[in-house]
């Protein structure tokens, strides 16, 4: 029972915090005569989050130090160490991954519900309000998974290991960035009970300022999640700059670390914009301030602020996915990563361009027409650095010694899917075709091809690849192949079929539609159900292998990066002896390139099966 004490304490402190915050808001509102409900929720939530953080352990590990008192850090122990404020990056990585798997499955169930509704043209199981809330929740939950599963989850676990560090630069901030996520999930799940929100995850005002309280909960959740993202990005930048092992020069940094650095720059700087945008919506609601709602406010202003974050945000999602994909391809091709330096340049260029393409989301918004041309040009230019990522992947595969294990299959899936996602992006960057396709199912299919087909497939690649390192056990290869085969097939049927209604006139975000589009929607729905079922062998495989799979070797893939040069799972401080880096991580077929040496250890680079 003591294992659950931090969580129980967190909940109690959160309740106390809520009472304090709501009480302050109520007393202010009473004196000014303003409506008090929404201010009570906002201020109550702020205090509740502080109470929650302190309760789960931030007070004892960190907060007491602010008042000159002694702090205690309790990071050892069995499974109970995952249930409290823990500063070990490996624990935080697993906390992120497991929480986000739950969010992913819930959001996936919502998608199943939407596809059930869309099987025919009429309105069946959902009312219009519940459909809109379901769609909006599916969107924001999957965005949270896409942003945080690679960055918060796998980056947290792998990044310090892959650069030969003991931990991240700011371990306590790292724990903080995870522990604000549970309140986000709670708010999102509570939202349907308070009227839901029918704005989509984009939350365009004036609609977003007029939603029921459920909408306010969503806006608070999004804002809070942004804080987690900002802190995480800052931490990774500091970690990569300051915590690299001796000899880990920039030219030797594994490509996954480069991709995390690139995504972190966006995460730190761009997320602040959407946070301000949401804060202004909340202020409009609770203080009657006018920012976005006419008369007096400017609705287009929010769209610019929102997409100034949300377009770069797709590169927070896809850049680490590219990094993981290229990492896996190189190690399973037994061949150095092709054109490594060009990939690093491409990542830098993508980060730069990602900040100056946002208005391609606004070609039909009514913004000045003089902006159409420049934003079309800038957006289409991104295809050049993205092409370099493809060059590197295909160049590495060429004349390789390919080992077709499950992580590689998923990485090849990324190459295939993202080629469709990238190419259909051109149609949405072109002003003329975008005017026809904007807000249709073509857009929905396109971004599912980039984010699900690209990033989520890369997350599964990463999940299978690092599973033996994280759990110390091996997954079942056959079940993994079945999972890949089913998921790849039904994923592609689902979303290829989804392009069709978009090109012929079906708009997105609707529960009912003209009966002419019924057949294509039926195909999409049936394939989507099969896609949903394809995750069952994965769930079984992961759970069963984690509990009773065969013990994994320290380096089952014979990969050269540093995370494989320690035990599986790694010790508390990651390496029994810290490595000295002497070359890059891609010295396949070239004995002169040795990635790391362990001066005091006899077996310098353990090979497979030791």
């Amino acid at each position: 029972m003591t294992a659950f004490m931090p969580l129980v304490r967190g909940i109690i402190y959160a309740a106390i915090g809520y009472a304090i915050g709501a009480g302050i808001a109520l007393s202010i509102a009473t004196t000014t005569g303003e409506p008090s409900t929404e201010p009570m929720i906002v201020l109550g939530f702020v205090f509740a989050v502080i109470g929650w953080l302190m309760g789960v352990g931030m007070w004892t590990t960190w907060g007491r130090g602010w008042f000159g008192k002694s702090t205690t850090m309790d990071i050892t122990g069995g499974w109970e160490r995952y249930l409290r404020f823990n500063v070990d990056h490996k624990v935080i990585g697993i906390q992120y991954i497991t929480s986000l798997v739950v969010v992913f499955l819930l959001a996936g169930l919502l998608a199943m519900g939407m596809r059930y509704e869309l099987m025919d043209a009429g309105q069946n199981v959902f009312t219009k309000t519940t459909y809109n809330t379901t769609m909006s929740l599916h969107g924001i939950m999957m965005v949270a998974v896409a942003v945080a599963a690679v960055m918060g989850g796998f980056s947290n676990y792998v990044l310090p290991l892959i650069i030969g560090a003991e931990d991240v630069a700011f371990p306590r901030i790292n724990a903080l960035s995870f522990w604000v996520v549970p309140p986000v999930v709670v708010l999102l799940l509570l939202s349907p009970l308070f009227g839901g929100f029918d704005t989509g995850w984009t939350a365009y005002p004036p609609l977003a300022t007029q939603t029921p309280i459920g909408g306010l909960l969503f806006e608070l959740a999004f804002l809070t999640f942004g804080i987690s993202s900002i802190l995480g990005g800052m931490n990774f930048i500091a970690t990569i700059i300051t915590q690299r092992a001796p000899g880990m020069t920039w030219g030797r940094l594994p490509i996954f670390a480069w991709s995390v650095l690139a995504a972190s720059v966006i995460s730190l700087t761009a997320t602040q914009w959407v946070a301000y945008g949401l804060l202004m919506i909340i202020f409009e609601r609770i203080f009657n301030m006018v920012f976005f709602s006419p008369p007096g406010g400017n609705a287009l202003l929010y769209e610019h602020v929102f997409w100034f974050y949300s377009h770069p945000a797709v590169y927070i999602m896809i850049l680490p996915a590219f990094g993981a994909e290229l990492e896996i391809i190189s190690h399973f091709a037994r061949k150095p990563l092709f054109a490594y330096r060009w990939v690093v340049r491409a990542f830098a260029l993508i980060v730069f361009l990602s900040f100056i393409v946002w208005a391609h989301h606004l070609f039909t918004s009514g913004m000045g027409e003089s902006l159409h041309g420049p934003f079309m040009i800038l957006t289409e230019l991104i295809s050049i650095p993205t092409g370099i990522v493809f060059l590197s992947a295909l160049g590495t595969l060429w004349r390789s010694k390919l080992r077709l294990k499950v992580p590689l299959l998923f990485a090849l899936g990324v190459v295939f899917n993202f080629s469709i996602g990238g190419l259909t992006g051109i149609f949405l960057a072109d002003v003329a075709t975008d005017i026809a396709l904007q807000d249709t199912y073509f857009v929905v299919a396109h971004f599912h091809y980039t984010i699900m087909g690209g990033e989520i497939f890369a997350i599964f690649a990463a999940g299978y690849y690092w599973f033996p390192k994280i759990t110390g056990r091996m997954y079942n290869e056959t079940l993994g192949r079945i999972h890949f085969g089913l998921m790849f097939l039904f994923y592609n049927i689902t979303f290829l079929a989804m392009f069709a209604p978009g090109t012929v006139g079906m708009n997105r975000r609707v529960a009912e539609y003209p009966p002419e589009f019924e057949f294509m929607n039926l195909i999409t729905s049936l394939a989507a159900f099969a896609l949903g079922l394809s995750f069952l062998p994965w769930i079984y495989n992961m759970l069963n292998s984690w509990i009773s799979g065969p013990k994994a070797a320290d380096n089952p893939w014979g990969a050269k990066t540093l995370e494989w040069q320690t035990t599986s799972p790694p010790p508390l401080e990651n390496f029994d002896e810290f490595p000295v880096v002497t070359g890059d991580a891609y010295g396949y077929g070239d004995e002169s390139v040795v990635h790391a040496k362990f001066p005091n250890s006899t077996n310098a680079v353990p090979a497979e099966g030791d």
Binding site: T129, N132, D198, Y204, P205, P206, L207, S293, P294, G297, A299, L300, A333, R334, K335, P336, A339, R341, T364, S365, G366, M376, E380, I384, G387, I388, F390, L391, L394, W398, R399, S400, K401, L402, L404, L412, F416, L423, T424, I426, F427, D430, V431, A432, T433, I435, A436, Q438, D439, T440, T503, N507, R509, E512, G558, Y586, G587, D590, V593, A607
Partner: protein, 243 residues
């Protein structure tokens, strides 16, 4: 050589398959014609790239697969100056081509009517969850959700669009015309179409105005049926409505 042959074959199959598909049907405005042509051109250019990726994946999986479970390394080729240069060159050139045509040319085509005096101007106002129409200078307005928006064929029609002040953002989309633009409270937007075909909602569901920006509860039902008729018939209809 084998890979190149597979690529060429897949590309030919892909192009032929796409070009015999009738995705959009007959374009019914000049603007729809431009947009469909841009779409088809982009698709024709995209297919060889897609088939190249498929070919490469299939080829390497069958050709370079390691035998058994041994950890044999491949030859350590780290980069290839000429291939990288060639790759950068063709992606850059193709990107610039697409920016110029259909990119810039498309923008110019869609705007070429901007300076012209339209044959008909329709003022459109979005309100949750219906569209209101006023035929400018013709003394006809449509206030009911069930009204049919009647438009003349062979005419330059300008829609001037806004949303009511206390309302939310909508998007004025006519799928058959391929054109859309948001209806934003506090902002006036517009688009032009040159109609070239007659048509009726009952024959083609895309002859409708559909709200395309999520606006709450009845967003999906925020549509108006459209009929495009010959100009003489249109004048008759206007006269009947005004009376």
């Amino acid at each position: 050589m084998t890979a190149a042959a597979i690529w060429v074959l897949l590309t030919i199959i892909g192009e032929l398959f796409f070009l015999q598909m009738d995705i959009f049907g007959e374009p019914v405005t000049k603007q729809a014609h431009f947009i469909d042509e841009a779409f088809i051109l982009l698709m024709v250019l995209a297919i060889p790239i897609f088939t190249f990726v498929i070919t490469m994946i299939l080829y390497v999986v069958f050709k370079f697969r390691a035998k058994g479970d041994d950890l044999e390394d491949a030859a350590p080729v780290r980069t290839h100056k000429k291939w990288v240069g060639f790759w950068l060159a063709w992606t850059t050139i193709l990107c610039l081509v697409v920016i110029v045509h259909p990119g810039y040319t498309g923008i110019i085509e869609l705007r070429e009517t901007n300076e012209e005096e339209p044959d008909l101007t329709v003022n459109v106002t979005g309100r949750r969850w219906q569209w209101l129409y006023e035929y400018e200078g013709r003394d006809v307005s449509l206030y009911s959700k069930d009204d049919m928006l009647v438009l003349p064929n062979d005419s330059l029609i300008r829609f001037i669009i806004t949303a009511e002040d206390q309302d939310v953002v909508h998007s004025f989309w006519i799928p058959a015309f391929r054109m859309k633009i948001d209806a934003v409270p506090g902002l006036t937007t517009y688009f032009d179409v040159n109609t070239t075909h007659t048509g009726h909602f009952n024959d083609d569901v895309n002859f409708r105005v559909q709200c395309a920006e999520l606006c709450g509860l009845d967003h999906s039902l925020m549509f108006t049926r459209i009929e495009v008729v010959e100009p003489a018939e249109f004048e008759q209809w206007i006269a009947d409505e005004a009376a």
